[in-house]
Amino acid sequence: MKTDHYKTMLESVERALQVCRESLDKVDESHRKICDDLQDARDRLRALLLSSASQRA
């Protein structure tokens, strides 16, 4: 169950990160911080997903 949740969350966060990066040329430090945090969230989610999937296996 949790693995599925992480997967769904990861999809949203990856898409948000992509949108964020596409706007990087137009904006400033504050926007870069949002991108950095999204990247951080994505990395955390990837780790959580891997760990959850391996536990399930």
């Binding site: 169950m1 949203s12 966060v13 949108v19 964020c20 926007h31 911080k33 949002i34 999204l38 969230a41």
Partner: protein
């Protein structure tokens, strides 16, 4: 079709739009604008539908009015409905709308402000009071939205992060420390992106305007 009346020949494309079903109101407000030194062309739309349609034409030509003066009680689309339509359309995020209405009901005033009206006058404001608002509107030029797609991008980021947070909250009983850190990070992103989005929609000059003390009644 809007009725156009150039107050003076400035050679520019600047205008003020009055949306009011009463012709007398249009003439009175136009006179008021003259008194406060407005040099823009003044256009009149006699109902909400025509007003929105005219604004749509103007935004496509990137010539949004300096100021929109909006009545509330009109046949067809009310002033509140016009405000709601403008609020939901990012192209009008920098539009400066002042409500001039015969209603003095607090709920009408509150709703108009909630829907994005810059201020509210009961018919009719004195030239002194109106002059202050006109000066703010002029300083705020250009009213054309600067959206280069960034607001849309921010909106999408916020929605996606919201989605992730909603999914996360459905497994609330199974949180561990790593989940909580993730939640914090997502919450921070949502806060930052929302603050940025609101900054773009509500430029600082608007935020500085002293509401609610400027609920000016004549």
């Amino acid at each position: 079709m809007a009725m156009s009346d150039a107050l003076s020949s400035t050679g520019s494309d600047r205008r003020i739009l009055i949306i009011d079903d009463e012709e007398d109101s249009f003439h009175l407000i136009r006179r008021l604008l003259r008194r406060v030194g407005a040099t823009e062309a003044v256009e009149w739309c006699r109902d909400g539908e025509r007003g929105l349609s005219r604004l749509d034409q103007l935004v496509q030509r990137e010539t949004l009015p300096t100021l929109v003066i909006l009545d509330l009680q009109m046949p067809g689309l009310s002033g509140h409905a016009v405000l709601a339509a403008l609020k939901n359309d990012p192209r009008f995020s920098r539009l400066f709308v002042v409500v001039v209405s015969s209603s003095s009901l607090p709920e009408d005033i509150a709703r108009a402000i909630q829907l994005g009206a810059f201020c509210y006058f009961e018919k009719y404001p004195t030239p002194e009071k109106f002059a202050r608002v006109y000066e703010v509107a002029k300083e705020r030029l250009p009213a054309v939205p600067t959206d280069d797609g960034y607001e849309t991008a921010l909106r999408e980021i916020i929605d996606l992060v919201e989605n992730a947070l909603t999914v996360c909250s459905t497994s609330a009983t199974e949180y561990n420390a790593a989940d909580r850190e993730l939640l914090n990070t997502l919450g921070t992103i949502r806060r930052r992106a929302t603050a940025r989005y609101l900054d773009r929609l509500n430029p600082p000059d608007r935020a500085r305007w002293p509401f609610p003390s400027s609920f000016t009644r004549s």
